[in-house]
């Protein structure tokens, strides 16, 4: 966020030596998508995207919320050219996803972690799986050893290097997947419901790892999820419903929109829900209460003032 703002001011200073505003990590304009073969599909997977506009700045942490079938996973796959737009365009680090020549560079820049931890592990042991992406890139074996070590250390799984995939917990498998992507030195990390099949401990492990990568390496993170708790720490939250963006903004704004969230099939944060109900009963509470602590404060004031 700071990077974006400071570059913007540098640009304003203008004149000679003015630098261009940074290329958005992701630039989506008028993205429309439909599965060609299914016009009357009842399968919720075959969601349609309708006219999506979104820019994600480098280093941003963006959470995309949506219920199953809202189009969020279809959208995710547009970001690394696994799917391409029917209309509109998607630029990843300035490269158009429809351009086949750029496809592999796009996929190197925007790495994706999938929902099922097992169905993305190829290698027979941890170190080998991390190397898979590097092998595909034709990296030299010596360089591969270096990068694999580096990636394992970043995700705190170096002690698991010789383990076989079935010996890992869910959280460890997803960290392995992230390590495999980090070894390719991407600038964007896309998590497609990567925590949906994990237990709370695994989810925490993965979230901590991702936040650390965002903070320390400046990796742009795009996290697709239906867990509203994960949206609390994002820079921006985007709510997708029926293939369209319903809400965009910082969590402090978006997560207060109780009615829209419920309509979009999502959960509402506990404090927001309780505050909203109390307000409807005539109790005066600040409109911006998002966290439990804030509600505790407000209620204590009300209950202790005679």
């Amino acid at each position: 966020m700071a990077f974006f703002v400071s570059s913007f001011f540098l640009y304003l200073e203008g004149g000679e030596g003015a630098i261009m505003p940074p290329v958005p990590a992701i630039d989506v304009r008028g993205l429309t998508y439909a599965y060609a073969s299914d016009e009357h599909s009842e399968e919720k997977n075959h969601a349609v995207l309708q006219g999506i506009d979104l820019q994600v700045a480098p280093g941003e942490y963006v959470v995309i919320l949506g219920h199953n079938g809202s189009g969020k996973s279809t959208f995710a796959k547009q970001l690394n050219a696994l799917l391409t737009p029917t209309d509109g365009r998607v630029l990843v680090c300035g490269m158009d996803t429809r351009d086949e020549a750029h496809r592999w560079e796009i996929r190197r820049q925007a790495g994706m972690v999938f929902q099922n931890p097992d169905n993305q592990i190829v290698g027979t042991n941890v170190a080998e799986d991390v190397a898979f992406g590097l092998e595909n890139m034709g990296v030299s074996p010596d360089e591969m050893v270096r990068r694999v070590e580096e990636a394992l250390a970043k995700l705190n799984i170096a002690h698991l290097a010789e383990q076989e995939p079935h010996q890992l917990s869910g959280g460890q498998k997803q960290r392995l997947a992230i390590a495999g992507i980090m070894a390719m030195r991407p600038s964007i990390l896309i998590l497609d419901e990567a925590t949906a099949m994990l237990d709370p401990q695994g989810r925490q492990e993965v979230m901590e790892a991702v936040r650390q990568l965002n903070r320390e390496e400046g990796i742009t993170v795009i996290q697709i999820t239906h867990f509203m708790e994960e949206a609390l720490l994002a820079d921006r939250v985007i709510v997708i419903h029926e293939g369209r963006i319903r809400l965009v903004g910082p969590p402090g704004e978006v997560l207060l929109q109780r009615d829209v969230l419920l309509d979009a099939g999502l959960d509402v944060p506990f404090a927001v829900e309780l505050a909203s109900r109390l307000r409807r009963q005539g109790i005066k509470l600040d409109e911006n209460i998002l966290h439990g602590e804030q509600l505790v404060e407000a209620l204590w004031k009300l209950l202790s003032n005679p």
Partner: protein, 267 residues
């Protein structure tokens, strides 16, 4: 987590010099052993080949009990083969008569020859699988066959298929167990004495397994593409093999060893 400490297959972990050999040298040595053992046709040549098998077993430091347990199933096969040769071969002088059965000398000779040949063959090739991890074997084969890439043989792709299959075996076993339990909870009977109902009960096990495997394959393919897989063209490999002194010694030593076989056999 159901962490299985034992790898799949027959691999028995260890640090013997057999374990530490490059899989390629082992593969080559065993290949020739399997072919040439059929040229052993007398006591001397058989003992020669057998000594290598037993020597290898000792060198691998694998407990005899493990090997015995692994070989137990084939003892019946060997016994059956021996009996067939004893009673069905009708050459050479008669050794004894017993009721309807006549035993000829040639029959006994054949029986001994065939059973020991087979025994040593299986024992020796087991040494390969006991001392080499399945993944190393696959990679060794990939390296050995890689010259064929020039002739459009998809060596890399086949090897990748093998290694992915190996990687998923424990995962599939876990899944089978889960499905089995779920169907047992619905009254499916996998332990019935009735063969017909046991076969019928395979359906609730196999159908879900197949369906999930297809889904798995689709998701895996997508993940592989997302990680830049676009075929074997230009692909490097992380795993490395290097032939050491012991490997070259083994291969060089193979020449006098097999020469000895041909010297000892009856022409």
């Amino acid at each position: 987590m159901n962490a299985s400490q034992l790898s799949i297959g027959q691999y028995y972990p260890g640090r013997s010099w057999l374990h530490r050999l490059d899989p390629r040298s082992k593969l080559i040595f065993v290949f020739f052993y399997v072919v040439f053992i059929f040229f052993a046709n007398n006591a001397a040549s058989l003992c020669w080949m057998g000594a290598a098998a037993i020597g290898g077993l000792l060198a691998s430091r694998i407990p005899v009990s493990i090997v015995y347990r692994g070989l137990k199933p084939i003892f019946w096969l060997l016994a059956l083969l021996a009996l067939m040769h004893i009673f069905l071969t009708q050459e050479g002088p008669v050794l004894l008569r017993w009721g309807w059965f006549t035993v000829y000398e040639e029959g006994v000779r054949q029986a001994v020859l065939v059973t020991f040949r087979l025994f040593f063959l299986i024992l020796f090739s087991s040494l390969l699988t006991y001392t080499t991890r399945p993944m190393d074997l696959t990679f060794g084969l990939e390296k050995l066959f890689s010259p064929l890439k020039r002739f459009r043989v998809p060596v890399g792709e086949l090897s990748l298929m093998m290694s992915i299959a190996l990687r998923f075996i424990p995962t599939l076993l876990e899944e089978t167990d889960k499905i089995k339990k779920a169907q047992m909870a619905r009254g499916a009977d996998f332990e019935s004495r009735n063969l017909a109902s046991r076969i019928r009960s395979l359906l609730p096990l196999l159908v879900p397994l197949f369906v999930s495997s297809f889904q798995r394959a689709e998701e895996l393919a997508m993940a592989m593409e997302a990680r830049g897989y676009r075929g074997e063209e230009g692909r490097t490999r992380y795993r490395r093999l290097s032939m050491g002194t012991a490997d070259w010694l083994l291969l060089l030593g193979a020449i006098p060893f097999y020469a000895g076989l041909f010297l000892l056999r009856t022409w």
